[in-house]
Amino acid sequence: MDVPHIDTGAIAELGTQVATSGALRLMESVTDQIFEFTIAVVVIVQGTCAN
């Protein structure tokens, strides 16, 4: 089968969502928030450069 390109929006979401941010963490390390922020910036920059 020749598999067509698919956009993220067309891919089904899970019926049960599990957050990955530190929003519910209690007195836990905040380093993951910095990590996620850094990755998010890289993703945006790479997406911008590719266009």
Partner: protein, 281 residues
């Protein structure tokens, strides 16, 4: 006599959450280890106001704290909740079940009251409709020196009504923890949402997005491995990224995931496969 420190105490503790919590309770009944930790830091500050104690600190809208000890099994933090900040906040809208055992000694109770809730244990299959309801428990008036063990796998607490600052020593046990932290409506008991306690799975999810955005040419193995992870949400997140990255390479694994152990992953895989087939037709 061996000096009591968190490292020596927990090194001698049994492996499970109950044993580690019992060790924390016993430690918190003694203060010489706290004095040994803070006396030199206070002495340093007395001579050098710019001295930065070598402790990891964290702050949020409500509390400020420092990590006093941390290893793979347990973390001990000293924290202060400012009474004026607590008073400025509305009553807690949600009850948070951390999924972990904690032991807290209220060094200064600040006249606070503890609201409490109970909830059923985390179900074997993580689905929202299986999470049950949270129920309120009687409030607890805090007093100075009170030590309280809370099993975050089925108990939640929230501070309220403090007239003075609350200073707490808290041990958080990481072993035998639930895979998720759960949040329920504080008034209705309705389940609201959950967040993973698995930092590795959370990071992997973010890194897979990076692989996809970076159009990494040799990422197929990473996506494939992640679609077989123990965390169901990571399995599907990896497949979503893989499908956008290289739908041809992902399709075979997508078909396999229509038989995934988690019903939500099976349903999402089946729906996505059907959409791809329709699009290809």
């Amino acid at each position: 006599m061996r000096e009591l420190t968190p490292a020596t105490a927990f090194a001698a503790a049994g492996p499970g959450a109950d044993a580690l919590a019992a060790t924390a309770v016993a430690m918190f009944a003694r203060t010489e280890w706290l004095d040994a930790l803070f006396d030199p830091l206070i002495a340093e500050l007395a001579t050098d106001p710019w001295f930065a104690p070598p402790l990891r600190v964290s702050r949020d809208a409500l509390r400020a704290g420092a990590i006093l000890f941390e290893d793979a099994r347990v973390a001990i933090a000293l924290s202060r909740v400012a009474a004026d900040r607590l008073a400025a906040l509305p009553p807690p809208a949600s009850a948070i079940f951390s999924g972990r055992m904690t032991v807290t000694r209220y060094l200064r109770a600040g006249g606070a009251r503890l609201r409490r809730w109970s909830a059923p244990p985390v179900p074997a299959i993580l689905q929202s409709h299986r999470m049950g309801q949270a129920r309120p428990l009687p409030d607890l008036d805090l007093i100075d020196g009170l030590t309280l063990q809370v099993d975050g796998r089925h108990e939640a607490t929230a501070l309220t009504g403090a007239t003075g600052d609350v200073v707490m020593l808290t041990a958080t046990v990481r072993v035998d923890a639930d895979p998720v932290t759960r949040e329920y409506d504080a008034n209705t008991g309705e389940f609201l949402r959950m967040a993973t306690n698995d930092e590795g799975a959370a990071r992997a999810q973010v890194l897979l997005s990076l692989l996809r955005a970076g159009r990494a040419a040799d990422a197929e193995g990473c996506f494939d491995r992640a679609t077989r992870d123990a965390a169901f949400f990571l399995r599907w997140s990896a497949m979503r990224e893989w499908l956008v990255h290289d739908p041809g390479a992902a399709c075979g694994r997508l078909h396999e995931m229509t038989c995934d152990p988690h019903p939500d992953v099976r349903a999402a895989a089946a729906a996505t496969l059907a959409a791809l087939i329709r699009k290809a037709a």
